[in-house]
């Protein structure tokens, strides 16, 4: 079977943003988080699904997430939810990301304008 195409730059700060955003609304376990990211981004963001766990563990260690073991339908799973620190971290990440995307958009549209002037 052919390996899936992934975009490794996904790992540069974006997973934290997506995970913290998702976990603001409800607690989820790893598989659910990956499925939610995939469906809400129309599978534009592709990555090896297993790499989500080190990100979750890192955020938990920083205090941005907390976890608990729950048994649902006979399966024991680790559910993650956001903490207050997680909410603050999400706000900071969202601000950064918004500024970054605005700057990139500005640059791209500015580039188009220059092309039009020529």
């Amino acid at each position: 079977m052919k390996p899936r195409e992934t975009n490794p730059n996904f790992m540069n700060g974006v997973p934290e943003l997506l995970i913290l955003g998702l976990l603001q609304q409800e607690e989820m376990y790893g598989y659910e988080i990956v499925q939610a990211i995939s469906s809400r981004t129309d599978a534009v963001i592709a990555f090896g699904e297993g790499v989500v766990y080190p990100v979750l563990h890192g955020l938990e260690q920083e205090g941005a997430l907390k976890s608990r073991r729950r048994t649902v339908n006979g399966r024991s799973r680790i559910y993650y939810s956001s903490t207050r620190m997680g909410t603050r971290r999400l706000t900071a990440l969202t601000d950064n990301w918004t500024k970054l995307t605005a700057a990139i958009r500005e640059m791209l549209t500015g580039g188009e304008r220059r092309e039009a002037i020529r």
């Binding site: 079977m1 390996p3 899936r4 992934t6 490794p8 790992m11 376990y29 790893g30 598989y31 990956v34 990555f47 090896g48 699904e49 297993g50 790499v51 766990y53 080190p54 990100v55 563990h57 890192g58 260690q61 399966r75 799973r77 680790i78």
Partner: protein, 231 residues
């Protein structure tokens, strides 16, 4: 069989703390089960479902790198091997010696009050009580050495740092001597003290300790090597 043995070995050898490796693999295994179940539900055969689940989880390289990028998951043995295999064992040895001295001193006061020395003929419960202290005193270097073995084996360490720990513990162990001072006043309390000095027999004793300490580790290394070859 869930296919994470290679990842586990790789993470442990790279110095990731075993507790983080265990948790990572547990969650990966759960995720893998979910992916396989989802594929089987969609009509895939078991073999195809498993192969597809592996691809979706990611390559071993990517899974390992995701963990290794974060230094906070590294074990203390990797971050400070000098402390874990040099300083900590000496403190552990000192702790065991302290407890052994306390047992000797308390046993002297409980079972042999008024006597000039606790090193005398014992009866009944005193044999057991002093026996525990004696075992701790004599066995301390070996117990601590086995602790180092367990730590090194658990984290797939090579021989360098553990061997330094073994030698240090064996040497400190054979220089330790317990002394007792009789009570100054009649029916008073005697004193128990320790000192550390080399004697003519120390080197032979240290070699014996070293062999006792290192033997389980060598057996484990050989077992692991055989398992790697056969696996």
């Amino acid at each position: 069989v869930r296919p994470f043995a290679e990842l586990r070995e790789r993470l442990l050898r790279a110095g990731v703390a075993p507790r983080y490796v265990r948790r990572y693999l547990t969650e990966l295994a759960d995720h893998w089960d979910d992916l396989v179940a989802q594929k089987e539900y969609g009509g895939c055969s078991r073999a195809n479902a498993e192969a597809s689940a592996l691809i979706r989880l990611g390559k071993v390289d990517d899974l390992a790198q995701a963990m290794l990028r974060q230094r906070r998951f590294q074990s203390w043995c990797t971050r400070a091997p000098w402390a874990m295999f040099g300083v900590a064992p000496v403190f552990a040895l000192a702790g065991i010696y302290l407890v052994a001295c306390l047992i000797l001193w308390s046993g002297w006061n409980i079972f042999l009050p008024g006597t000039d020395s606790p090193f005398t003929r014992l009866h009944g419960l005193a044999i057991l009580y002093f026996g525990v202290g004696r075992l701790m005193y004599l066995g301390a270097p070996v117990f601590v050495g086995w602790g180092i073995c367990a730590l090194a084996a658990r984290q797939r360490f090579n021989l360098l740092w553990p061997t330094m720990g073994f030698v240090l513990i064996a040497l400190v162990g054979v220089t330790a001597r317990i002394h007792t001072t009789p009570p100054i006043v009649p029916n008073g309390i005697g004193h128990v003290s320790m000192n550390f000095a080399f004697q003519s027999s120390s080197l032979a004793h240290a070699t014996l300790n070293l062999l006792l300490i290192i033997l389980p580790y060598l057996i484990w290394l050989s077992y692991r090597a055989r398992r790697t070859v056969s696996g």
